[in-house]
């Protein structure tokens, strides 16, 4: 029997620390394990006995790339617990800051982490030696996303202005106007990004995913909507625990999430697009069509085009919000605590992020549960590797290793988030 093992000891261009081990026997991949060895930080444990108002600042620290997602899931879960709905201009401002995070995080992934794989570079800095204008366009676009977060949130990473009930301070209409000028430029850059990524060479592969994402009510989802799938799942966040479960595997400090009795599923751009493409802005819909995307895309390598389409959408949506913005009467709704349980799922750039909190009568957190996107996607990433790598076993080790890394990067895994993630090892036998 011929056995071949391929290992990647430290995966690069992903957020956090992980490794990969693929074992092949007689030309067939037997197993693919994504080892997450990011040290655990125990957020759910030390959230206990903190006030409900502290959760947005504390959970932001789970991830430096998507802190807004953590803040949004936290505030929505608390508001769900305490029976408050934040609507009107405050809801619009929350969508606006989420637009900023999608632009910043997706552009980082498209230009700095993922595109070098398609163009044959080790990273964006090496890519900039031959494609300086393209990398500068990416940095410029990313900066516009960051400036939205900085204006609304106070700073790009771990914003300080988000609170349960709303914000500490809301912007004047005239403060938002300069962003609109930047966003018009960013929208052109985003359109150019869709066209640029659509021209890459993609392996011709498909997977039969169960896509899980929020389904917005006529709008592309950030924080509202029902949790839906292409196989008939249609639930509210309150019902999440009845339908999903997490299990622990020895090779990972990240838990693995499954749909009960159904198995792995996929969240993130492919899933959001599959369930919500009709709700994109006209410009983003046209760009997707021009890029050759059908209404559903099941080739994970093409996720880079969908991220670019979502950046375009986020620019359009941000412009709409700024244009229609009316200053709210007060920056936040005051909320009184009570014994309760709250649930929320929102769409982090890399996938759905679920929070559940149980509160005591004095507002202190009795129990917290956080299911990050990468925990949910990790079983599907391993399935991708098992499915695709058999066809690549004729490649020499270095090329095969690179292909496997790319397969993981397709899903923009956020390892720091999930630990609570990569080395690559391929065992081919012989």
């Amino acid at each position: 029997m011929k056995v071949r093992t391929i290992k990647v000891d430290q995966l690069a261009r992903v957020e956090g620390e992980g490794a990969l081990r693929v074992v092949a026997r007689d030309g067939v991949v037997q197993s693919a394990e994504l080892n997450i060895f990011e040290p655990p930080r125990f957020f759910e444990a030390f959230l206990r006995d903190r006030m409900f108002t502290e959760a947005p600042d504390i959970t932001a620290r789970i991830c430096g790339i998507c802190p807004v997602a953590y803040q949004m899931s936290a505030v929505h879960a608390m508001e769900n617990a305490l029976g408050v709905v934040v609507d009107g201009p405050l809801r619009e401002l929350r969508r606006l800051i989420y637009c900023g995070e999608w632009i910043e995080s997706h552009t980082l992934h498209v230009y700095m982490l993922h595109a070098p794989d398609f163009l044959g570079y080790e990273g964006a800095i090496e890519m900039a030696r031959d494609h300086a204008d393209i990398v500068r366009r990416g940095l410029d676009l990313k900066k516009v996303g960051n400036s939205i977060i900085a204006l609304l949130g106070g700073r790009e990473i771990h914003p300080i202005n988000v609170r349960v009930g709303g914000f500490y301070r809301t912007p004047r209409k005239r403060e938002l106007q300069p962003l609109a000028e930047d966003l018009k430029r960013a929208r052109d850059q985003a359109l150019a990004t869709v066209r640029w990524t659509a021209g890459f060479d993609f392996p011709d592969v498909d997977r039969d995913y169960e896509f899980v994402a929020l389904r917005g009510d006529g709008e592309y989802p950030f924080s509202d909507g029902r949790i839906a799938s292409n196989r008939g799942l249609d639930i509210s966040a309150v019902e999440y625990d009845e339908h999903f479960e997490e299990s622990q595997v020895e090779h990972s400090t990240a838990l693995h999430a499954h749909l009960k009795a159904r198995g792995p599923y996929l969240t993130g751009p492919l899933a959001r697009y599959a369930l919500n493409s009709a709700s994109l802005s006209p410009l983003a819909r046209e760009a997707a069509q021009e890029a050759g995307l059908e209404r559903v895309c099941a080739n994970p390598f093409r996720s880079i085009i969908i991220r670019a389409v979502e950046v375009l959408y986020a620019c359009d949506e941000a412009l709409r919000i700024i244009d229609e913005y009316e200053e709210p009467e007060r920056p936040a709704i005051e909320i009184e605590p009570r014994a309760s349980t709250g649930f929320a799922a929102t769409e982090a750039p890399r996938g759905m992020l679920y929070h559940r909190y149980q509160l005591n009568a004095d507002g202190k957190i009795a129990d917290a549960r956080i299911v990050p996107p990468t925990s949910q996607n990790q079983p599907s990433i391993e399935e991708d590797l098992k499915t695709f790598a058999t066809a690549w076993l004729d490649l020499p080790d270095e090329a095969l290793r690179h292909r496997c890394e790319q397969t993981i990067r397709n899903h923009d895994p956020c390892i720091s988030c999930a630990t609570h993630f990569l080395r690559l090892e391929i065992d081919r036998g012989g």
Binding site: R13, A45, G123, A132, L139
Partner: protein, 258 residues
């Protein structure tokens, strides 16, 4: 003849990646910096790595596993200068809340099989393990200060990062004092400058994410905070966030332990 550029390495320990992301967030300066230094080890940005020794190592994150406690020793040996970036590397970070609890209980809350988890009972700053040449504060660090630290390194001078309190930054920004003006509790008087008085500029009190300033008088601030209605438990919690294990904040939180 090609110029020999200094080698820069970026190392990650237990953290959220936010501080190393700050380097990628220097959108206007990134390509200039990449022209001035050889980015020799920065896995978040590139697969290409260059062997040490390194002229400047930037370290993000805290030490929380036996393996990491050994790894930092190896990194120190191959680094001419070693600087820590951010609250995790400088004080142990939010994950140092375990230092006040039983880490086995923590693991049991999060994991069904805590026995699979290898972790130390404490989360500690890099300086508790090896000599550190410079510490940059903040959760997260400020990109402006990061550019200053790298520029200072390239020029061979000491970085300019004032050790005074956030109060001084509020005065410079012309903010109304949130404590005097609105009775909003604020850690500004004991917190290290660097953020530009961000929270007070957004009508909220400072929550201490840059850690303690030089020689803070935390007991005096706590007396004022209790007059504003904070009880011992609230005082304990306010010092126990992203710099909970920084000496001045740790001691002050322990004074309010019930």
């Amino acid at each position: 003849m090609a110029r020999i550029r200094p080698k820069l390495a970026l190392w990650k320990f237990a953290s959220c990646d936010g501080c190393q992301l700050s380097l990628l967030d220097c959108e206007d300066e990134l390509l200039t910096v990449a022209g001035e230094v050889e980015i020799a080890y920065f896995l978040e940005a590139t697969r290409a790595t260059v062997e040490g020794p390194y002229d400047l190592s930037l370290v993000e994150g805290s030490v929380t596993t036996p393996h990491d406690a050994m790894r930092i020793q190896e990194i120190r040996k191959k680094s001419r200068l070693l600087m820590t970036i951010g609250a995790c590397a400088t004080s142990g970070g939010i994950q140092a809340l375990r230092n006040f609890a039983d880490v086995r209980e923590y693991a049991a809350i999060v994991y069904a099989r805590p026995d699979y988890i290898q972790t130390l009972a404490t989360s500690t700053a890099i300086a508790e393990h090896v000599k550190v040449d410079f510490e940059l504060r903040g959760c997260p660090i400020s990109t402006r200060q990061l550019v200053e630290v790298i520029s200072a390194f390239l020029a061979g001078r000491k970085p300019q990062t004032p050790p005074h309190s956030v109060c001084v930054e509020c005065k410079i920004a012309g903010n109304l004092c949130v404590m005097v003006g609105h009775g909003t509790p604020c850690l500004g008087p004991v917190t290290h400058a660097g953020c530009g008085a961000l929270c007070p500029s957004y009508n909220r009190g400072c929550y201490g994410c840059y850690g303690p300033m030089e020689t803070p008088n935390a007991p005096s601030l706590s007396a004022w905070l209790s007059k504003l209605g904070m009880d011992d438990d609230a005082l304990k919690r306010v010092y126990r966030t992203f710099n909970a294990n920084a000496d001045a904040f740790r001691k002050e939180s322990e004074r309010h332990e019930g």
